[in-house]
Symmetry: C2
Subunit: 350 residues, 2 copies
């Protein structure tokens, strides 16, 4: 299967579509999840998991990065830069490596466990530790192009959105139409904006008969859009959406309002509950943040403001659980220590 720029480049406003930088991202599975729908209290929903953890670097960021790095290379860039400690850094480093470009990743000193940077390090990024805050790093990244020939690949780069919207294209192609509902976690709000843009383009092109309603879900400790104000010190176990002042706040609200959808929030306990449930019921291991929309569905169904009966609903699982194995091991699980005898084993098996 070809990569995203090869498949959809004619619908991306970027340069270099004839020479994509690709690691054959996209074409991720859309996994039916009937047992999960049951558990969520809405058994007649045709529920699907768009498992973005099966992109090359393990998250949805690869969709935007193939576009951003293709565009950057076409424009002559030799170096890319980003401030990130997680999925963005790994993705930027991988695509830069593939293109033979240098990648700098800025991180605040003392704030980031090395394991979180394993991906970026493996792909050969240059790790620049700043004696300052994460915001200092982001400021420096934004200013850098004024001083040196370097391309910023944080989500301020508009090419990222051009790639990210392809998630909506794939869902529509696989289902034969748009789903009734599209559910996803909301952090910096780039993904909700990109998906909405993708669905609108599918509709404008006449490829689908409808647009989905959007359900965006934030963590209670990092829910600026729901609360209506910036959150100074956002806190949640769902680190990928631990953001207090989303870059695409207005666009997220537009996606909600234009689609007739909701943006809601859920507590960490419920996120962790559904993080476990999706792995244990459907065999799909995702990052904790991906479970936020599941918790949102459960809450909406329980409280009566969300009716998914007989509807199709897609939940985007943005990253693979393998990226944060410590979280999985920190949850309670069943363990037995036994003598190496068949009797002891049979007892455990009951």
């Amino acid at each position: 299967m070809a990569g995203l720029v090869a498949r959809y480049g004619d619908r991306m406003r970027i340069e270099g579509v004839d020479h994509p930088v690709s690691i054959e991202e996209g074409s991720t599975p859309l996994i039916p999840a009937p047992r999960l729908a049951d558990a969520l209290g809405t058994p007649t929903t045709r529920l699907f998991l768009k498992f973005e953890g099966l992109n090359p670097t393990g998250s949805f960021k690869d969709r935007g990065m193939t576009a951003a790095i293709t565009d950057a290379r076409a424009k002559g860039a030799r170096t890319v830069i980003c401030a990130s400690t997680g999925n963005t850094a790994a993705s930027a480093a991988a695509y830069a490596a593939r293109a033979g470009m240098e990648c700098l990743v800025l991180v605040p000193e003392g704030k980031v466990a090395l394991g979180k940077l394993a991906g970026a390090i493996a792909y050969g990024a240059k790790v620049v530790t700043i004696r300052g805050s994460f915001d200092d790093g982001l400021r420096m990244v934004r200013e850098a192009p004024d001083h040196a020939p370097v391309t910023v690949v944080n989500s301020v780069n508009p090419a990222r959105m051009e790639g990210q919207k392809t998630g909506a294209f794939e869902i529509c192609e696989e289902l034969g139409d748009a789903p009734n509902w599209h559910c996803l976690p909301v952090g910096n709000a780039g993904n909700i904006s990109a998906y909405w843009q993708g669905y609108c383009e599918q509709h404008a092109e006449g490829f689908v008969t409808k647009k989905p309603r959007i359900l965006g879900v934030q963590a209670e400790g990092a829910a600026p859009i729901v609360r209506g104000h910036v959150v100074e010190n956002p806190e949640t176990v769902a680190t990928a959406i631990r953001i207090g002042n989303p870059a695409r706040w207005k666009q997220a609200e537009a996606a909600r309002d234009e689609s007739g959808g909701f943006i809601t929030m859920v507590p960490d306990e419920e996120i962790l509950h559904w993080y476990r449930a999706v792995a244990r019921l459907e065999g799909v291991f995702c990052e904790p943040s991906c479970a936020a929309p599941l918790a949102g569905i459960a809450r909406g169904v329980r409280e009566g403001w969300l009716d998914l009966r007989d509807q199709s609903a897609v939940v985007v699982l943005t990253g693979h659980g393998m990226k944060d194995p410590d979280q999985a091991v920190a949850m309670p699980f069943e363990q037995h220590t036994i003598d190496a005898t068949m009797d002891a084993l049979l007892k455990v098996m009951r």
Copy 2:
């Protein structure tokens, strides 16, 4: 894209093909790797990486597991069991979860870091720690079906091979024929046997004009087939192929001899060198064991016994690097600590 039993079930000798247990495994990318071919000293080779790390649980094991669990469920199994600390355990746990079956994973006490079991734990496996060795665990697993209604999903289960051979089917379909060379790591020798079987079946069905020559590569510290005798205490950084007495030893030799290929061995330093190189040159982050065939190619080309000029060659990357982030972080990498000023940043960028 449908899962493997839906696509190839009519070519699998298993039960239950009409009701597959699938997490939409397979359809993994075949990534062109021209920069890597250059670095390997054979720039005219049409080199491809079959990136099996993008299966749902992050390794090629999912190919065999969808077949094994489909077959087990059709035969009425409610519980599956395996002795494994790594990829097999995670895969078994995921597919058992998806099927609503119980999964027991046997591990020797004190030998296994919890992080290695993160996948299995996340998918809800019951972890049974044995006061004994890994061999005790394997013995108990093999005996268990005589005493209780439980299905063994270690590679002794023949359904595993039926699923695993589909990797060869996909490669042939995507290339339009078999490649000239097929290169892969050899541990327990299940994968080399399954791929050879797959290519032979493709050829027998008339879907391809040729069969590839097979290059299997072991680690020097765990190279029983190359050395011609069992290795009592196998040792290598490539833990996924740290096996001293392969279950499918004879079949691996047959694949080598029938195909006119080689089984060779490489030292850990060279494995680690190519483990880094594939991520840094092509943006593909794999488990260390996956780099063994790359080291084998480099060695064969350098020493003159392997001629890949103008040939097509596929290298199977069996698992994703995210599964073992500690290994990535343990390698040397470029890091700078600077003040939060543009001058300091520009100096790092040169």
